[in-house]
Symmetry: C2
Subunit: 440 residues, 2 copies
């Protein structure tokens, strides 16, 4: 193993991502789009035999469908995944179950309408386009899942995590992802066996719902018990020993210990979610929620942030690196992609917007706009769905390119619109309601 | 690629390392030895076909000499390397060139005597033992390099980084590592070509010295210029724009930007050091030194610490995982190992202790003891030297096992002795001299 080549690759990729981010910020755009664009450039800038990725020993697979990549690219993929996992963990740390349940009904409406509409739009479009039911189902499924990573980053950057709109978006994205997994299970089952196995669908749905409810119950009733138990023991120990210096050292050690425990919870729940067929990022979000009541006290967020920052650039670079320019340049693909992008944007915007109004009568038009826009980005989830279809041989490489373009386009379109919508919704920074804590 | 299996492995390994650390701390021992012991247990606990590592899909190579490992173990190795790199970067961040130069003469004496004595002891012992000059030279070389990672962790844990002893140890360890690289180059050259190529030796030595001097010059004269340039520009911008809110946001963004820049510097210099034939950790230490004057202002240390903590457990686990118990159980190996350990400890303790007294007349016996003990651990550097010999076919697997035992033993012996010596040297926490800032 060439550790030197990996260190060089990490340094150069982090530096380039940062450069892209700064460049786009200079023009008033979101920095993460700059990172994605750098990813696109990296994957497509090939001059003869020379490319930056080649210089860094990064060899990617050709079709995203299981061909073995080399170690350097596998490191990029692992770091990208860890970046998304820690980002969502950080969002989870700031999401208390009690607060999430306040927006439960609205989030449910947003999620369901935001899943049904895109799926139907995609299905009907492709049935009309080439009449292939498998193509149609996979494209529909790829249009379903909101990539909460992108929206979460914007929400964190703008410091509007505690607004009602943000909470609904995040809760809805979780439900939405679960619905997306269920739809994916249906589509894969139908495509490979030729029929829908109702039993499998019910099983996936049951597991997903049970998991989320179990985590919420643990966060509300079990974690506080454990916390009280340890606090009492600690108090007793400090009380009996009277050693101020040691207590202080133990306190510092304690904080680092808490961080390690938090990392273990984050990765543990992420693994469990992945293992039962959900996305790892859903798991890490729920893992963060487990500790949300104590995150502030333990200083977890500020300690997790540097870890997230270290890994996160790779996530956005990798989203961009999935785009193969030459696959996107045929007029047919571009035309179809334009229609799919339009439908993807409209279906989420309208579906989630209506869902928000139906689910919570107190929300006004401005709020429903924020929520609709926040749910637009599809990002890597759609690409993963399309890649599964491609690997199973029930998706054309043409439609795969369309999905990639759609995923990247919705990811690029959403952040600036979301920033604008939030600024319009909260023109003075913060309204009267205690739910909004824009400036803490 | 099975991302789920990697996430699970990371979670379990971090949790186990933490468990080992807490267990050893409960018995008054250093936590990092607990992590190393967990590594030994992990690599050797095989019950029939079952092992914890197997359960985690970790497949290690059999002899440390180039056989391909699987992705999960490669991730452990990469994380281990990054842990050591960030640890030394953190130490570098707290090491100002000006302060280092104050102890330059003493450090030089400590390093040179601490290299010559162990090399000669090892050489003579093995010549007497089996008469093979290659074996003798490699064992001597493996006894040379101090593993500053272990000592640095103890120094940071005890918060005695700013004592004169710590500064001498760290400076000496850097010089020592450079001398170690030169000796390794000589030994490899002599073993493979049958003669010593003086030209190559001079080249390696010249490159190493030039690199360190160049970094120190850059830290002293170039970095402050760049800093002033950007500060002036920033001041001008804030002055002309008068936007407090944006300035504040820019300030926060700025701090994250600084962290990213620091990470790039750390990895960049680490790569460069690796590329010119030095160790990557020497590079990251020097990279930290480049930014040491501004680390406090930019809050770099507290932001690098969580990243270090995330990776560092893998470093200590991996040191332990190199120990194959069955190679260590023959009486011949154990007997030889006992003598080698004794010589390794005595040669550094005496060599560095005398060096300290010769190099700085103001140091008393207590200080020279602290320095002698601080230089004892060999850790992974000795193992790497032995592995190179094994791969080149000029080292027996028996002697490799001896080196591994010696490296682990010196690593385990040193921390508790160092803690005791520091406590004896500074019984009241902090003396009068401004050099000691035990409690800041």
């Amino acid at each position: 193993m060439e550790i030197g080549s990996i260190i060089l690759m990490l340094a150069v990729l982090i530096a380039l991502a940062r450069l892209g981010s700064l460049l786009f910020q200079r023009f008033g755009l979101s920095g993460l789009i700059g990172e994605i664009v750098i990813g696109i450039v990296l994957a497509n800038l090939v001059i003869g035999d020379w490319s930056i990725l080649g210089m860094l020993d990064v060899v990617m697979s050709d079709d995203g469908a299981g061909i073995h990549e080399n170690l350097n690219y596998e490191v990029v993929e692992i770091f990208a995944e860890l970046g998304a996992i820690f980002l969502l963990f950080g969002v989870g740390l700031e999401t208390r179950v009690r607060n999430l349940m306040l927006v439960g009904k609205a989030a449910m409406f947003v999620a369901v309408l935001g899943v049904v509409l895109p799926f139907l739009f995609g299905l009907v479009l492709i049935l009309a386009y080439d009449g292939n039911i498998n193509h149609a189902m996979f494209l529909g499924a790829a249009m379903v899942a909101t990539s909460v990573g992108i929206t979460a980053r914007v929400i964190k950057e703008m410091n509007v995590l505690h607004t009602i709109e943000s909470r609904i978006i995040i809760a809805a994205a979780v439900i939405d992802d679960i619905l997306g997994m269920i739809i994916l299970a249906i589509v894969v089952g139908a495509a490979t066996s030729g029929e829908m196995a109702i039993g499998d669908v019910v099983k996936v749905a049951g597991i997903a719902v049970a998991f989320v409810l179990a985590i919420m119950a643990i966060a509300m009733w079990v974690v506080p018990e454990i916390y009280d138990h340890f606090m009492k023991r600690k108090m007793r120990r400090i009380h009996t020993e009277h050693k101020d210096l040691e207590a202080e050292e133990a306190h510092k050690e304690d904080h680092l210990g808490k961080l390690i425990m938090a990392v273990v919870v984050c990765l543990g729940v992420a693994w469990f979610a992945d293992d039962i067929g959900l996305a790892a990022i859903i798991g890490s979000f729920l893992g963060g929620m487990l500790l949300a009541d104590y995150a502030m006290e333990w200083g977890l967020e500020e300690k997790i942030e540097p870890i997230t920052l270290f890994f996160l650039s790779f996530f956005f670079l990798n989203v961009g690196m999935q785009v193969k320019i030459e696959d996107c340049l045929s007029p047919a693909v571009l035309g179809l992609a334009a229609i799919v992008i339009l439908l993807a944007v409209i279906s989420k915007y309208v579906g989630c917007g209506i869902g928000a109004r139906l689910g919570d009568k107190t929300l006004d038009k401005m709020s429903s706009k924020v929520i609709g826009i926040g749910m637009i980005p599809r990002g890597e989830v759609g690409i993963i769905v399309a890649a599964i279809g491609l690997a199973a041989g029930v998706m054309s490489s043409e439609l795969y390119a369309v999905v990639v373009i759609m995923a990247v386009a919705t990811t690029i379109i959403s952040p600036p619109l979301l920033v604008k919508a939030f600024k319009k919704r909260y023109p003075d920074g913060c309204p009267d309601g205690e739910e909004c804590l824009i400036k803490e």
